[in-house]
């Protein structure tokens, strides 16, 4: 029996279909990555699994029970961290721990908070506010907060897309380590093919909308633990990366369209201190141009 299952899930906004007939089935302990272009409904898909939005049609079940709303059994790591800025790192995690394990003794809860702060190597920053942390550190706090509530499944919604490449690589390693230790079921949404290949058991490309859906999954049989440096020279890795990239670019090529829009040039006057002051901004209709740009 599948652990997480999406059956013919569709969702639209204001009459425009975003996702159509999405089918997905995960076994317990599996790491699945969904890759696709921005703005094609990846985050919408994640919100539906998290229960924050309801699908228009279709069904989502976790361990056989239908998903009807948000809950701590699905640990969502938000794209923009969503830490509460008035709470310290420890307090942010404690808020989650206290909410999910209200019956546990205070000492046990405190221990749990400390354990997960240690797991993401932030013990030295436990008393700092999110505003005093770098982007990578904030995302680690967010991951720790999610892991601390011991969810049945981990939902990572482009967790690393706002980070620089080096921090991103470090955090990928950390996520990989944590997953190897815990063997939690993970759904990762990402726009990086390399990231998906490095972390996942299966990579599923998301086709282009309107009405995007999941393409056939590609099984990644690379041995674990995966070594980032060695991986770059692995023929199988190169083949998979080329295959997935081609597939995604293929969607893009089919949809290549252009729009013409009004181009308003910035109204910059030359600096001339001797020129008489003009109160009314100069209007130069001749400067109005049109430009043609490719969407995508």
């Amino acid at each position: 029996m599948s652990f997480l299952e999406l059956k013919n899930v569709s969702k639209g906004f204001a009459g425009h279909p975003v996702l159509r007939d999405v089918n997905l089935s995960l076994v317990e302990g599996e790491f699945v990555a969904i890759v696709g272009y921005s703005g094609q409904g990846k985050t919408t898909l994640m919100s539906m699994i998290a229960g924050l939005t309801r699908p228009d049609s279709g069904a989502i079940t976790l361990e056989g029970r239908p998903v009807t709303g948000p809950g701590p059994d699905r640990g969502l790591v938000f794209q923009n961290y969503s830490l509460l800025p008035w709470l310290t790192v420890a307090e942010n995690i404690a808020l989650a721990v206290d909410a999910v394990f209200p019956a546990a003794p205070a000492a046990e809860r405190a221990e749990r908070v400390a354990k997960y702060i240690g797991m993401v190597k932030l013990s030295h920053a436990a008393d700092r506010l999110p505003g005093q942390l770098s982007g990578g550190m904030r995302q680690r706090v967010s991951v720790a907060r999610t892991l601390a509530i011991d969810p049945r499944i981990l939902l990572l919604d482009e967790p690393l897309s706002a980070l620089d490449a080096l921090t991103r690589a470090n955090l990928q390693d950390e996520i990989s380590d944590i997953w190897q230790k815990d063997k939690k079921t993970v759904v990762l949404i990402t726009n990086s093919v390399d990231e998906a290949l490095y972390l996942a058991d299966r990579v599923i490309p998301l086709t282009l909308g309107p009405g995007a859906t999941l393409a056939a999954p590609i099984t990644i049989d690379l041995p674990r633990p995966r070594d980032r440096k060695a991986l770059n020279h692995e023929p199988e890795f190169k083949r998979l990366r080329a295959q997935i990239t081609d597939q995604l670019l293929g969607y893009g090529a089919r949809r290549q369209q252009t729009v013409t829009r009004k181009l308003v040039l910035p109204d910059i006057l030359p600096e001339d201190l001797d020129a008489p002051r003009v109160n009314r901004p100069p209007r130069r209709p001749s400067e109005e141009k049109r430009e043609t740009v490719a969407t995508l």
Partner: protein
């Protein structure tokens, strides 16, 4: 360090220049068009007993300036507390519930611009049954209702501005309604609330003078009005300066408090 010392000197010099210009204008005014206006020196003469013995109590109205300010501040504190206690929950309801906002927002918009002078008689009528306390209660009512609006509106704006992400955190953790309110919504709204609180305090201090003038309750406002009636015009200026200074200090204090909540 050197640069900061220089900016300090420049700022002080500018401040002094501003004060001297105003004093000069004042002297000019009392020497030419407004002969009845006391000069700065004459003002200081009449104000002296109130400043030099700030806590003296020579009679019902004849008291040291700090004592008078104290009476006014005590009433402001009560009215202001009332305004916050009533205004904050109303602000939350306006921000949280579309229906509530639809029903009460127009009413708020109509009541908000009403002058304190218009509310005061109504306040006294409302509390007629309290007899000798009617004046005081009427004044309290006026302060509370006039000072309430900035708190109401800023809180409502703050509640509407809570990022959906914060609320989603609460939803994922399945926080109860009370927990979401206390642990997420109130802290997220605090910076807005304190902006409202600061503006409300400014208004409360504006209203107290009008309320005291009309009710005759002892304080800086009634002192000002009595000294006008006694033709001690110097003390009018003295009262104005005092009121301005206290209002300034209150605003500074509140903005320090406000700054501490600007963590977001």
């Amino acid at each position: 360090m050197h640069a900061t010392a220089r900016t300090f000197l420049v700022n002080t010099a500018c401040l002094l220049a501003g004060l001297l210009l105003c004093l000069g204008f004042w002297i000019l005014l009392s020497a030419t068009v407004a002969k009845e206006l006391p000069t700065p020196a004459a003002t200081w003469e009449v104000a002296k007993p109130y400043v030099l013995e700030p806590l003296a109590k020579r009679g019902e109205q004849d008291q040291g300036i700090l004592r008078l300010v104290g009476y006014s501040l005590a009433l402001v504190a009560k009215g202001y507390a009332l305004a916050l206690l009533v205004g904050t929950p109303i602000g939350f309801l306006l921000g949280l519930s579309k229906g509530f906002a639809r029903v009460f927002d127009p009413i708020v918009q109509i009541l908000r611009p009403v002058s304190p002078l218009a509310w005061l008689p109504l306040g006294m009528v409302l509390f007629l049954s309290t007899g000798s306390q009617a004046l005081e209660n009427g004044a309290l009512f006026t302060i509370a209702i006039c000072a309430m609006w900035p708190t109401v509106l800023n809180t409502a704006v703050g509640v509407r501005a809570i990022p959906q992400d914060y609320l989603n955190v609460g939803r994922v953790l399945k926080l109860s309604r009370t927990q979401t309110l206390l642990k997420i919504m109130v802290p997220a709204t605090l910076p807005y609330m304190f902006t409202g609180f600061r503006l409300s305090l400014g208004i409360a201090w504006l209203v107290i003078v009008a309320a005291e003038m009309l009710t005759g309750r002892t304080g800086v406002g009634s002192f000002l009005w009595n000294e006008y009636n006694n033709a001690n015009y110097g003390n009018i200026i003295f009262s104005i300066l005092t009121i301005g200074l206290i209002g300034f200090v209150l605003d500074r204090l509140m903005s320090v408090v406000e700054g501490r909540f600007k963590t977001v």
